[in-house]
Symmetry: C2
Subunit: 355 residues, 2 copies
């Protein structure tokens, strides 16, 4: 099967063209069927391509001069959707010139442009931003929403659960274990919207997921849950607290290891161990936040990602395309609708749901 | 100055009497003016006291047989406020038999009992739970609310800021830098309640704090902020994400260090470094969450704290008593009221507040 092209916003991110093109080239070394639409300044892109002969014949350039600023207000950036590299990359997906878009630019602007250009898929009220994080086990955990929506009601949370589960199934190849983020695991904890969403997810038994109730934020990375579902405010708070603490502990470690000669020697001797730790915590190994619930695949690469990180984001986009995430989400939405119908009709399907 | 007694719920916590009494004795070795009211089973307390001759003459026992269960519903525990060790310790504060209460039992029950027995101080609508966390710098950061209230409006957030600042001033001995937890630092981020609280804190220039706007959760432990103010849901999510990630990274580190002989040798050589890390992250060095905003001091020691952790919680209670936290909060509340009055009267005080 030939994979649709991937549009790359070549101008986004802290280091711009060089890293974006190098990341695409790295991804193509591992997957030679990848084709790219590189959007941005033609001269810069051509110059960056010179170092990557494997990109020849695999990439088309779409020239533009305008770039969305990193700190620009999304509403302002939105007015230049037709002239910026970010806007044109997203638009290529809308027009079918690419199957997915990858950008390392301004998250809010990318979200706004993607929403307007691609619109939400049928049955989804609001898209969500999902990211992958390491766990103590071999498998990663997905968390969403991470800030696409500040608030979320029970209906949004149920949709986020379905979208996150579809993404997780593609990554793990099995039925994922899904939980709602809460401040306790007892039934009466948190908000009404959490209890309502839990009841809905428990009632819809045909969903392609295992719903396990609530999870507290100290258990996200223990390997006991595959998808953590929350509103964008709480998700953003949890994600950044996790990132910040991982950095905090490694910073402490670094200063502890360099505090005495004895420590320095110990550090050198045990370098393989600290390298393993670094590898496990390196955000570049988990790069690529995905906007789920749109008519098309859009992946946000971290602004500070290196080429390996960008390659990771490109591969995430390719996998979601290949495994048709939109169709997987649609299937579970249909099942949810049927479960609600069965319940409304007072059928036997409502037994044991606690409702 | 003679310090009022501290009431200790001797029965709470994972290990009960032995650790609570040992913690009190440890605190008294460092501060020989401390006096205690030990509440719980008399036989067990007497037996525990035998190992601590420095507690003789410094402690009175208040016997009771009933104990609040660790997983008990707060509403259920509340009915036994007059018979349980936790309820009687809090009640001793109400009756003036002690200046502060320390318990390592059920947090929800302790909050409920304290609220009912001590009531909120004048000008405070809701109490908040505040904890101290390590930073990259020498000074600790305080975060509140951590779950006493699931939600908080702008007025609650402003009161939390005042309470947290009073606590921080006692710990740091200087005007603390205060920020509201948000998902971005731009003015338009987050909820209306955050913007309203920020405007109020900016307008009240006479408060004994330096209000610096918003902080994101990856910056809590960088040493750039002394008090992080948030609602109980978000605060609980952030706190547990920080605790869980610190544990996650140290678990990864442990498994990395024991994965090869070379790593093991390195670990032994660099042990002082990892001991330093352990010391810095050990929750026992930062033990003692405080219920702020009540007519009396109540400190929650962590359920799994060891004797050093309990001693820490006891010392926190003593410091809050000694430095009269209630009076400090009252002063800032009065200033806030005056600032509002100045603004309502259209005085010059409203310049530059953005309102």
């Amino acid at each position: 099967m030939s994979l649709p092209r991937i549009a790359i916003d070549a101008m986004g991110g802290d280091e711009g063209v060089r890293v974006m093109v190098e990341g695409a080239a790295l991804a193509r070394r591992r997957h030679d069927q990848f084709q790219f639409l590189l959007v941005g300044d033609e001269t810069q892109i051509k110059s960056a391509l010179e170092s990557h002969p494997n990109m020849r014949g695999a990439s088309e350039i779409l020239h533009c001069e305008d770039v969305v600023g990193g700190d620009e207000q999304p509403s302002k950036a939105l007015r230049r959707a037709k002239t910026t590299s970010m806007g044109l990359a997203v638009n290529a997906v809308k027009q079918g010139k690419a199957g997915a878009a990858v950008s390392a630019g301004n998250t809010g602007a990318l979200m706004a442009m993607s929403k307007i250009a691609l619109r939400t898929m049928p049955g989804i009220d609001r898209p969500a931003l999902a990211a992958v994080m390491p766990t103590l086990e071999d498998e990663d955990v997905i968390m969403l929403d991470l800030g696409a929506n500040t608030e979320a009601d029970a209906r949004n949370l149920v949709q986020f659960a379905i979208m996150g589960a579809a993404y997780s199934r593609i990554l793990l190849g099995r039925k994922p274990r899904v939980r709602l983020l809460n401040i306790g695991t007892e039934e009466n904890k948190g908000f009404d919207r959490l209890r309502d969403a839990a009841a809905d997810l428990q009632a819809a038994k045909g969903l392609d997921m295992q719903f396990d109730g609530y999870v507290e934020s100290d258990k996200i990375n223990r390997g006991e849950v595959d998808v953590v579902v929350t509103d964008g405010f709480s998700g953003n708070i949890a994600l950044k607290a996790i990132e910040g603490t991982a950095r905090f502990v490694t910073d402490l470690l670094r200063s502890a290891f360099t505090s005495s000669l004895r420590s320095k020697i110990g550090f050198l001797v045990s370098r393989p161990a600290t390298e393993l730790l670094k590898h496990h915590l390196d955000p570049n190994n988990h790069n690529g936040a995905v906007f789920l619930g749109l008519n098309g695949v859009v992946v946000k690469s971290h602004g500070s990602a290196n080429a390996a990180g960008v390659a990771n984001a490109v591969e995430v986009a390719a996998r979601l395309l290949e495994d048709d995430i939109t169709n997987r989400i649609a299937k579970d939405l249909a099942e949810l609708g049927e479960a609600r119908l069965r319940e409304t009709n007072g059928g036997a399907a409502s037994e044991g749901t606690g409702k």
